[in-house]
């Protein structure tokens, strides 16, 4: 049977990882490539780089990081942040990314999803949705959750699927940073609507928080940043907690 993926996410700014990282035996905790290798050897099922670079120069640096990571880590790599067009997607895929996450550009112009799927194939296109509860529904926010769009998250997820997205990376802006667990009602609303895989993001505070996203929320994968970076939860602990709760993960021996 298909196993639930555990995906550590690294925020990268101008070639350096932001957010604290607390790994033993790591000389340079700010080096995304070294961190990717560390996660690789701990048995991450996939890795996600989120490029939060503001400058144009930093973009080239990101491509180099993707290239060097892909040389050493033989696992799926998703890269997101600032992807505006199909040509951005192609550039990232050529550098070694397997999947590219599109967020603001897809919300501003959903045709970008179709263009990306035509260029890279659906399997390479992840549509990242940042949603916040507004009244009785979930609304998409962009620009790091600051800018409301008036777009309904469930409807947009359906459109993303129709336009050829291969996966949805769903972040709850209400839960992100709270460490109080994933947003189960939001996950349920999306996973019962679309038939493509959904990655849960935002809110993981402990190893015990991971399984409910799958068992109750219907997610196919869980993504977390800070609990792994700060060493609060190891991937081995995350795997054990998922298995114990009844959400099987890939067997991995370190």
């Amino acid at each position: 049977m298909l196993k639930t993926r555990i995906i550590p996410c690294l925020d990268v700014k101008d070639g350096r990882t932001v957010k604290g990282v607390n790994f033993v035996d790591l000389r340079d905790a700010g080096d995304p490539v070294a961190l990717a290798k560390a996660y690789d050897s701990q048995g991450a099922d996939e890795l996600c780089f989120l490029d939060i670079t503001a400058s144009h120069e930093g973009r080239g640096t990101m491509l180099d990081i993707v290239r060097r990571t892909a040389e050493q880590c033989f696992m799926p790599l998703t890269v997101g942040g600032g992807v505006r067009s199909a040509s951005d997607l192609v550039q990232l895929l050529r550098s070694g990314a397997d999947k590219v996450a599109i967020n603001s550009a897809a919300v501003a112009n959903p045709a970008v999803i179709s263009e990306c799927a035509a260029k890279g194939g659906s399997q390479a296109v992840v549509v990242a949705i940042d949603a916040r509860k507004t009244g009785d529904h979930w609304e998409i926010f962009t620009h790091g959750g600051r800018k409301p769009t008036g777009i309904d998250a469930v409807e947009f997820a359906m459109e993303a699927e129709q336009r050829g997205a291969g996966e949805i990376l769903l972040t709850s802006m209400d839960k992100d940073g709270t460490k109080s667990g994933f947003d189960i009602p939001l996950l349920k609303a999306i996973t019962k609507t679309v038939s493509i895989p959904v990655v849960a993001s935002g809110g993981a505070g402990s190893a015990a928080d991971l399984a409910p996203a799958v068992l109750e929320g219907g997610a196919n994968a869980v993504l977390a940043a800070s609990i792994f970076h700060f060493g609060e939860v190891t991937l081995a602990e995350a795997r054990a907690a998922m298995t114990d709760a009844g959400a099987p993960v890939r067997p991995f021996e370190t």
């Binding site: 298909l2 993926r5 033989f74 696992m75 194939g121 659906s122 399997q123």
Partner: protein
């Protein structure tokens, strides 16, 4: 020194496959010269051939056929000269007779059967994306030493349905049984991505590098 060509016809996973093959060659100390090429003549002369592929069957088939002389070079090297061949993902699907993704597209026809959309039971998501276990159906050298309960990375919405079940080398369970690998004579193909399957994948690639089909 043997030569291996990785066929460049614009496929997205070309460089991932190249990097993983190089790592696998280093791992098993295989004396192999790995070349990425779109030159049909180079393909015909190589000792081993790897055909990568991601995305759409019809696009990949058109891309491959757009390379001057490539289809006949492949026929010559793989079918006539029986060089070891590895197809990865859509590169594996292309060796079937027909692809049924958006219409009917002829494949290379080396393995009897179609490539059809997966319809997993139980409301499971499509694409089938992530790590899934392999159930080995052949005692094949390329599948040797993968360890207990080997898991590999899949990402696909279509899969090969071989006419002859004996051509199936491994399956995976996803709301029903899906062809994960096919093998016959000097042909081997994986629906999953060995280049993205960490040590299990590298081991499989290393096995291919040293495989001498009977």
């Amino acid at each position: 020194m043997t030569s291996l060509v990785l066929i460049d016809y614009g496929s997205g996973n070309l460089h991932s496959a190249e990097r993983a093959l190089r790592a696998a060659a280093e791992m098993c100390a295989a004396a192999v010269d790995i070349e990425v090429t779109g030159d049909a003549d180079r393909v015909q002369k190589a000792d081993r051939i790897v055909l990568p592929g991601v995305g759409h069957f019809a696009d990949c088939a058109a891309g491959l056929r757009a390379v001057e002389g490539m289809e006949s070079a492949l026929q010559e090297a793989v079918i006539h000269s029986r060089k070891p061949f590895l197809g990865i993902c859509v590169g594996m699907q292309l060796i079937a007779e027909w692809g049924l993704e958006d219409g009917k597209t002829p494949g290379l026809g080396w393995i009897a059967g179609d490539v059809d959309r997966i319809k997993p039971g139980g409301g499971l998501a499509v694409p089938h994306m992530g790590w899934n276990g392999l159930s080995l159906k052949q005692d094949h050298p390329v599948l040797a030493g993968l360890g207990d309960d080997p898991h590999v990375y899949f990402t696909h919405s279509y899969a090969m349905v071989p006419t002859n079940p004996a051509d199936i080398a491994a399956t995976t369970e996803y709301g029903g049984e899906i062809t994960a690998a096919v093998a016959r004579d000097n042909l081997f193909g994986t629906q999953f991505h060995p280049e993205k399957s960490q040590r299990v994948g590298l081991r499989l690639l290393a096995n291919f590098l040293t495989w001498e089909p009977a």
